[in-house]
Symmetry: D2
Subunit: 261 residues, 4 copies
């Protein structure tokens, strides 16, 4: 049974900028979905900012194993309710892969709890990604390093929480470095950030990049049934305690009432 | 030079519930500030929900080394703008200690990026806290374990990101366990969550609890000057690159313009 | 294709102690291998201290996807050469699951770099394991907590490095807690420690324990080809540098020579 | 009261190689100790391989707050008993700072539990270290990045366990990257690895490097009293259990006897 991946893209540059439109005639989302569908074992569809509910209604998220997210110019246009819905889906077990300028997306900042800022330069310089965690599932089939001849530079310090694992670190021609591949777990959801992917370069047609994305989808997929009560804080009454106890002392709450939130 | 600590409390139960009011006549904030001031090397003041800007205007936060946060019934009444201001202060280097029911505070959920939920029971049962990180600064002067005869139970699973370090784990009489002391770093700010402190019990008068809080203030204090541009994402133009490079390829941005956010 | 698991046991108590021998007539290794073989997708065999090379010659380790390790009375009898061979296999990608009193095995201490000590009591008391990482692969099919009516107690502080993820925490009837399930990565190898399993109790016949072990084998399995040069530190000569550089300054080494170790 | 630092050096190249001898007339250990003593609040002495017990008898380690370690050509000549003694001191609370080629020292490999290997090139190329954890204590007083015009290259993948925190990442002129500053905790001891310091370059006279080392000594210092029973695994008899319990079930051990190791 294949993994259901949804590639979300704001889809703005493709329709407003001729360079990007010519480079990605099916959109960045279309290019990525095409690569994932060709990788085997993954069934990828797309969603964009312009779709109703940004293409991410609750019933679709419920069936999405892994969501990929590309945004840049229109982070502010993403509705907060959809961001919260995606966050809850991640906590409940949906995988999330945040791409490139998605570092400043509402959903990434929401899940990290940090500014997610960095330094940057758009100069088409050479980027070389080094694997820092040998034989990590996300590096399957990759050499120890690979190059992208033209990329935007992102530089440290990168305003993220310490990753669970650092998988790639990039070298840039202009002298910077960057933690280009990093993982976190948020609730039952696996989160991966992958740096490359500036819209004016053909990054998403690169074979190594496509390999990383397919690997990451497989890694992020949590096959467990989605958690349904993901933000609940259940009261465990005295009579249902694992060990027999007797209530003592002063109480603020009456039995069985909901806690404050 | 002493560490400036501010003890924030929603101060609701103290004024609305006779049990709590009698137990903490100066408020939970007053009890904690008193203990910190007696500990040596710490200068503690208080702030409450009812104060103007909740007692946390920008100029006060700028001088606060470590903020302690107690809330329960009124999490929803804390203004989002103040929450965001506190988050930025943490990223810039202010320490934050979140207490007990503060697990559901806006600021803790904001910095964790997770639901921060748990199970609970108000039965005045025995809690025993075990040190899991020997000689961690937060455990200075403490035995390997200590007890609170009456406490509210909080049980796992606790909906937090994997901590940087787990410092305390609690045993409860009714059969549950809980990661009662855990650390994270968010930007330049040290964050510590400490579980005990239900408002109907004299927890904040316990000598071991007071020791933990004083230790935690010292641990959370980052003496470095506060970061001023904590969410900035500066452009590094080609001519200021560390290594000489020439711009190549298609560009979306004109030189020196701000990036999208 | 099934996962090749090898269950290693020192196999001492089974042959020297009537209680243990009667409880585990096929040995602890036999009981565990039986459970794994019944779980589906796993092909489990056994090895013991008494076998030639402790049953772990290089060619067998090369084909072992995941090794499980139970030892207690005879840690000191395990040959250092075999320990080092197992360590290299782990770094190269073999999974390792260390069981109960294996906390003091040479291989666990070797991979952790810490004392791996704890407190203990053999009183047949109740243990309750709580899941702390919801829907972690190692918890598949398990409830939020499960009990073992009779177990040895292990208590914190547990002398381990901070885990990558804490998956289970135990509550003990006598008042202690313990991080009973924890993960690390060492090189390309996934390592899991699982606490229960005292030899005088029927722990390895418990359905939940068997579920954890099967889950852990699947989680620890790294399908990537084993790394062959796992301790090499290759010299990258100037003429093979990714970027053109010219050697400068004083040199200690001549070109292409091996580094010091 | 100042922090007692001991700078350990194998002191081989200085006496066998004219370039190194001329560059470091007081030895690398002398240069580092000099810088630490000039930094304020640190009292640094030195020890070398050639000293009796390598200059690290038990009574000296007991009074050492932080040990710095430089080795390269003679890792194999360090006695195992001294390595184990140092490991125990770290677990008990002594800080340890491992420098440059010390990545292959017995003590670093012992504490990491991994191969600690890397790629390398001695070409006097430019290294630029980027701070990845803003305002971390180890970065106090440093700019966001600094350069060493001539250094040996160390490249990823670096065979270490995932660090607690990654503090520096290096960019190399020849195209590689490296996690040049990383922290771990082992028992009560803080461990920091710092990459630069090839013996044929004047790295330890660089002001930024000296600042890092002084910062690291202050960060690694654990002021708590040294743990005395750091590898003990105490039995807690039934009658001393925190909660009243009665022993049940079959027993392997008689009361109060030592556990197996």
């Amino acid at each position: 049974m294949s993994i259901n991946a949804v590639v979300w893209n704001e889809n703005v540059h493709e329709t407003h900028n001729k360079i990007v439109g010519d480079l990605y005639p099916k959109g960045i989302h279309g290019a990525i979905a095409g690569a994932l569908n060709a990788a085997g074992g993954i069934s990828a569809t797309t969603a964009t900012l312009q779709d109703d509910e940004h293409g991410l209604p609750a019933e679709r998220l419920a069936k999405t194993d892994v969501l990929l997210w590309w945004g840049h110019a229109a982070h502010g246009d993403v509705e907060d309710a959809v961001v919260e819905r995606v966050a809850e889906a991640v906590w409940a077990g949906m995988g999330l892969i945040v791409l490139h300028s998605g570092h400043f997306s509402k959903i990434f900042k929401r899940l990290m709890g940090t500014p997610c800022n960095l330094t940057w330069r758009e100069a088409g310089e050479r980027e070389r990604l080094w694997v820092t965690s040998r034989n990590h599932p996300i590096t399957a089939g990759l050499p120890d390093h690979f190059e992208l001849e033209n990329e935007e530079m992102y530089g440290e310090p990168f305003g993220i929480p310490e990753p669970l694992e650092t998988v790639f670190i990039s070298w840039f021609q202009g002298g910077e470095v960057f933690r280009s591949g990093a993982t976190w777990r948020r609730g039952a959801g696996n989160v991966f950030y992958f740096r490359p992917g500036h819209e004016t370069y053909p990054t998403y047609f690169d074979a190594n990049v496509q390999q990383v994305l397919a690997n990451a989808v497989r890694w992020a997929h949590n096959p467990a049934a989605r958690i349904t009560d993901v933000t609940d804080a259940p009261n465990i009454p005295v009579e249902r305690a694992c060990e027999p106890i007797t209530a003592r002392g002063a109480k603020l709450h009456t039995d069985g009432e909901d806690g404050f939130r």
